[in-house]
Point group: C2
Chain length 366, copies 2
DNA sequence: CCACTTTCGCAACGCTGTTGCCAAAGTGCA
DNA sequence: TGCACTTTGGCAACAGCGTTGCGAAAGTGG
């Protein structure tokens, strides 16, 4: 760690507090208290941020007997990021500002099986259309000319992949994507930095950026069952960035066969119960998996999402909550709360954009 | 982050590399490469460390055409830490130097149910006896007078506890310890900093300090079944420092009852199979739990330990390995390796000492 | 109107890691 | 043996970080 990285570290610290404060803003002295830096250091840092156009003064607080505190806020328009949600049959693209607010959105039908060229072209077109300056012609080289404040593009899609290198593995049902270097291919075509991640990780990251503190697990129950783990404010991806394989956790040895080839996976049991219309059993099974996860990682809260959960939120929150409460009674501790996520269908795309915004605020490894 | 913490951060970085190099030592230029700092910065930092007596020059490498590199090494005697392993029927205390090498050891029978006063007195006596200057009389106030380079005492014991506050929860079989502020009580009696943690976490920390890189899970199979998780080089303890409850992971819904009150826990199934003499089934069950953990966290390696494993290492490594290999075939990735830990019975006490040494080398939040 | 409080920037400062430079200590060839 | 060359690593000067001392600005309250 040298002086340059110290400087950007502290700048990111301040920027993150400005982001968390949102529209309300935050005073210099409060920044100093929260960061542990001296007020004078905060003054210098915020002066630089104001010069760069990232922060601005926005009114002042009421006086407490002396000069009133000047409120600073993030300038949301100083930077933008694009989030792309590649689903099996749909493409969803959003543009967000530094605060994470959606500034543009676009949806299109998509066939993931139509070949890489067609998919990449569709993504390129949708991303170009969502940028503030829209032209009929999409420029040949690079999108940064369209919007100089575009920080990059985050892409979220189902299935296992290598987040570090940006290479896909076997996307269920689409074997032709195995080994495809999506990040490289898109970065070349778009001319801006690209980050690739699993859809569940993007959703979890979106929740973390949206104000969910600490450590939590986001369990997504839709056509499959997956999880995004946030530990200490950042997404846990594991050694080969394959963490979060919640659905193929075995909770019934020698149980019914699963599509993955194993037996007794939570996903098989849960989806089976849903198919039979037995939501209570589905929730109980999901709760058993969640309880295992809570015991292993000791997280703060369990968040549920996905179409199946959204269709019957009370049944799932109640069922999963009951299992966790029973566990808490046995261990003598408070039960881990269960909630349904508020975000709608666009949550994954918004979270994908946070893959790009995160490093600006000191989250994620660069 | 200010300049003072920057300084200690970089010093810890260099110290950790010196520690890892062990007796072989490491040159200034190599330190510069590994830390990313300039050679001149490393020269300044190592000069300070040498002034403080923490580092020393130790010979030189062969020349590669110019002035040969001077080798630096950690001075192991510059600091000491004591590790205490409180087990149900035994007390084990070790003193280690900065390199983690055992410099003194002491064992004694112990009855955890004999009351807090008796246990604390036994610990105090054993710790005093393991210090380099041994006296017949144990001093009344503080042990730091006996050894000024004593950095602190780490205590490891079974069962759930609050690592942050150093307070015990329900130790299985000894309800009288519930809520006891062990860290505070011991720190007052010993006059040095005390850190308290679960035995499985201490064992895992010892393995991490012993050269195990990256992320791994240590599964301990003895009278119970627990886990210590190391993620990215540091122990994962979770929000309420209760993480690692591996044994009460449910892998068979509505299975046989467990001592915890739930049904189908890995611990119940595994210990049951061991009791029946069916080691293959025990290993298979353990493997199923390990596979769940690998999928959730995507760790680098699974390490097995504990008396039951040590009694039949091949059966457990083979059985757990087979389950993980089957999982790898399904996902199309390399299997996560399984190994038995080398450390013997004293591993937990040595790991407990690392609770104190860790912060010196920039590990752990203290 | 004035004393007082609080905020916050300018200037000087101490300390960080960095750069420029050179002495020290080897190797290798004539 | 002598000289050119390479490599290491410390001294000195430096740029830049956060900190301290201090004063101007902008309020409140009597």
């Amino acid at each position: 760690m040298n002086l340059l990285s110290l400087r950007s570290h502290n700048a990111a610290l301040v920027l993150d507090l400005l982001r968390t404060a949102g529209g309300e803003g935050i005073s210099r002295l409060e920044l100093a208290e929260r960061t542990g830096l001296t007020p004078q250091a905060v003054s210098k840092i915020t002066a630089r941020l104001r010069e760069d156009g990232l922060a601005a003064e926005a009114g002042r607080r009421a006086s407490t007997g002396g000069k009133p505190r000047t409120v600073l806020r993030l300038v949301p328009e100083a930077g933008h990021a694009v989030g792309v949600h590649l689903d099996r049959d749909e493409l969803r693209v959003v543009r967000v500002d530094l605060l994470g607010a959606v500034r543009g959105e676009r949806r299109a039908a998509l066939d993931l099986g139509a070949g890489s060229e067609a998919v990449l072209a569709a993504v390129r077109q949708a991303v170009a259309r969502v940028l503030p300056v829209q032209r009929d012609e999409v420029p040949r080289q690079g999108l940064s000319g369209l919007d100089p404040s575009l920080l990059g593009v985050g892409v979220a899609l189902p299935g296992p992949l290598d987040h570090g290198r940006g290479v896909l593995h076997r996307v269920t049902g689409f074997p032709e994507w195995d080994g495809f270097p999506l990040r490289e291919a898109l970065a070349e075509r778009l001319g801006v930095p690209v980050v690739v991640d699993k859809d569940t990780n993007a959703a979890a990251l979106g929740l973390a950026a949206g104000g969910e503190r600490g450590s939590f697990a986001y369990l997504h129950l839709g056509t499959g069952l997956g999880a995004g783990l946030v530990i200490g404010g950042s997404v846990h991806r594991g050694a080969r960035t394959g963490a979060g394989e919640f659905g193929h956790q075995v909770i019934q040895l020698d149980g019914p066969p699963c599509t993955c080839g194993d037996r007794g996976c939570v996903e098989a049991l849960c989806l089976g119960a849903v198919a039979r219309g037995d939501l209570d059993q589905a929730a109980r099974v999901l709760g058993a998996g969640a309880a295992n996860l809570v015991g292993l990682l000791d997280i703060d809260v369990v968040l549920l999402g996905g179409r199946t959960v959204a269709a019957a939120p009370d049944a799932f929150v109640g069922g999963v909550g009951a299992v966790l409460e029973a566990r808490a009674r046995r261990t003598g501790q408070d039960a881990v709360p269960v909630r349904v996520t508020a975000g709608g269908d666009g949550a994954v795309a918004v979270g994908a954009a946070q893959l790009v915004l995160g490093p600006v605020f000191g989250r994620g490894g660069g």
